[in-house]
């Protein structure tokens, strides 16, 4: 499982880096960024799903 952010949709609400700080961070303008390669370990799956279902812009994809 891997997460990615659609930069066309992201508006910098920051729900992903609030809810899943091990997977996402903010850039210098507050837009969400995937940390590292975006691979989600089994322990991170719950966080990843929380980020997906709470993004107001539907900008996070799980592949």
């Amino acid at each position: 499982m891997k997460v990615q952010i659609d930069p066309e949709r992201c508006q910098g609400h920051g729900r992903c880096y609030d809810l899943a700080p091990s997977l996402f961070g903010d850039d210098e303008e507050g837009y969400g960024q995937v940390l590292g390669d975006g691979m989600v370990s089994p322990e991170q799956e719950r966080e990843a799903r929380l980020a997906v279902v709470n993004c107001p812009e539907h900008a996070i994809e799980v592949i």
């Binding site: 910098g12 903010d26 507050g30 709470n54 107001p56 812009e57």
Partner: protein
């Protein structure tokens, strides 16, 4: 320091002297589907049953007041308008009896909130860096200390006004610090906020005079910063450039007005509504006091259920849209609160569920105008609730009838007397 001739002191021309005025219509609403008004007391007291009713039977209400406007109540419609900057302009974002001239677009009077593409992204980019979660986290220790100071003043008292003596002061202090304004000017900020957001139905000459007072104040602050530059947003805006050009004086003071007004009323409302809910819902209060780690989750639910901010747009051209015939320059009252209670979008939409895990609410808007200060608002709201719950054991509404709500597009308690059972 060389003089900056952009800010030569002069009687400011406010945009309200131009544009189009409509007849001021006040008084009881006959039918909310055809005659709505967000400025009548019934709406201020409890807008949710009205919105729920409209969502079922309408769902896009109309009014002839304010020169004509529409009120969508479904999440789907609110989101569609927020995303559609081609058909809906932000050149005015406060629905009232005055429409700014169309040539004010795409910059608008208070960029970037009043800006449309393509200018919008440039005005917004200037400010994003100062409002990231990381940048805002630097304000947290001072905010927390200030919340404690406010509660220290409650010692020995049984009843306090949590809106006037607590919620109000927190965003005022933080934004004054960020803009580099004197902290003791707080009472003036309150007057400015009320002028802009609540004085909608006042006669034009009163509106103009009040706006002039605000912009005069901002010019005094700009000039103080020209004489004494420092590390704050005001000095930053004075020096900032777009396309290699310094900003116009109107852009600088318009952006300052935005940060001052939007930064205060909104978070003041969010803190107040959250405390109002907890004061009348002992089970939630007790659970949060016992589980402070739940505050970030609970506050998202307070933001959903009691979203303080409603925006406005102007329709660009005549069109048939989602079943209604909109005309150019009709208002759209863009109710994020109504969207946030749409049962098609949220389970148990009308209930406050403080451990709600899936909460894709629109309290901070959607699309390119996502609230610039959302990370600041969230920090202030979280710290205000954490400190309150840590310091105040039990609290209840001292007199439910004495709670008074603001009128207009920003909704929150302006009088909130709470009885404190034990404070420390």
């Amino acid at each position: 320091m060389t003089a900056d001739d952009r800010f030569v002191y002069q009687a400011p021309e406010t945009d309200e002297e131009y544009g189009v005025r409509s007849e001021i219509i006040t008084g009881p609403v006959a039918d909310w589907a055809t005659d709505f008004s967000h400025l009548e007391p019934e709406w201020s007291a409890d807008p949710y049953p009205i919105q729920d009713d409209l969502r079922q039977r309408c769902p896009i209400a109309h009014t002839e007041r304010f020169g004509g406007g529409w009120l969508p109540t479904r999440y789907e419609d609110v989101a569609a308008i927020a995303y559609d900057t081609e058909r809906f302009s932000s050149r005015a974002i406060i629905m009232g009896n005055w429409r700014p001239p169309s040539d004010i677009a795409p910059i608008g009077g208070s960029p970037p909130i009043s800006s449309d593409p393509p200018f919008h992204q440039h005005a917004r980019k200037l400010l994003l860096g100062a409002f990231t979660k990381t940048a805002i986290s630097r304000q947290e220790p001072a905010t927390r200390a200030f919340c404690h100071e406010l509660i220290d003043k409650f010692e020995g008292r049984d009843v306090v006004d949590a809106a006037a003596e607590y919620a109000q002061h927190i965003p005022m202090r933080v934004i004054a610090d960020m803009l580099g304004f004197p902290p003791e000017d707080g009472p003036q900020f309150r007057e400015f906020v009320e002028s802009v957001l609540e004085g909608i139905n006042l006669p034009p000459e009163d509106r103009i005079e009040r706006m002039e007072r605000l912009f005069n104040y901002l010019l005094v602050q700009v000039n103080d910063h020209l004489d004494h530059p420092r590390d704050d947003i005001t000095s930053y805006l004075i020096g900032a450039e777009i396309f290699g050009q310094k900003l116009t004086a109107d852009h600088v003071t318009g952006a300052m007005a935005l940060l001052l007004i939007a930064g205060i009323d909104t978070t003041w409302s969010a803190i107040g509504s959250s405390l109002w809910h907890l004061a009348r819902t002992p089970a939630d209060r007790e659970r949060l006091a016992a589980e402070p780690g739940l505050v970030p989750t609970a506050m998202e639910e307070f933001l959903r259920a009691y979203a303080p901010v409603t925006m406005a747009r102007l329709v660009k051209e005549d069109m048939h849209w989602h079943g209604v015939d909109m005309k150019a320059d009709d208002w759209i009252l863009l109710s994020f609160p109504a969207a946030n209670r749409d049962p098609a979008q949220f389970d148990r939409a009308g209930e406050v569920v403080i451990d709600r895990q899936v909460n894709r609410h629109a309290a901070f808007g959607l699309g390119i105008h996502r609230c610039l200060g959302s990370h600041l608002a969230r920090m202030e709201l979280r710290v205000a609730l954490e400190v309150w719950l840590e310091r105040i054991g039990e609290f209840t509404l001292a007199d439910p009838d004495a709670v008074r709500w603001s009128a207009g597009q920003i909704r929150g308690p302006r009088a909130l007397p709470l009885r404190l059972a034990a404070s420390g």
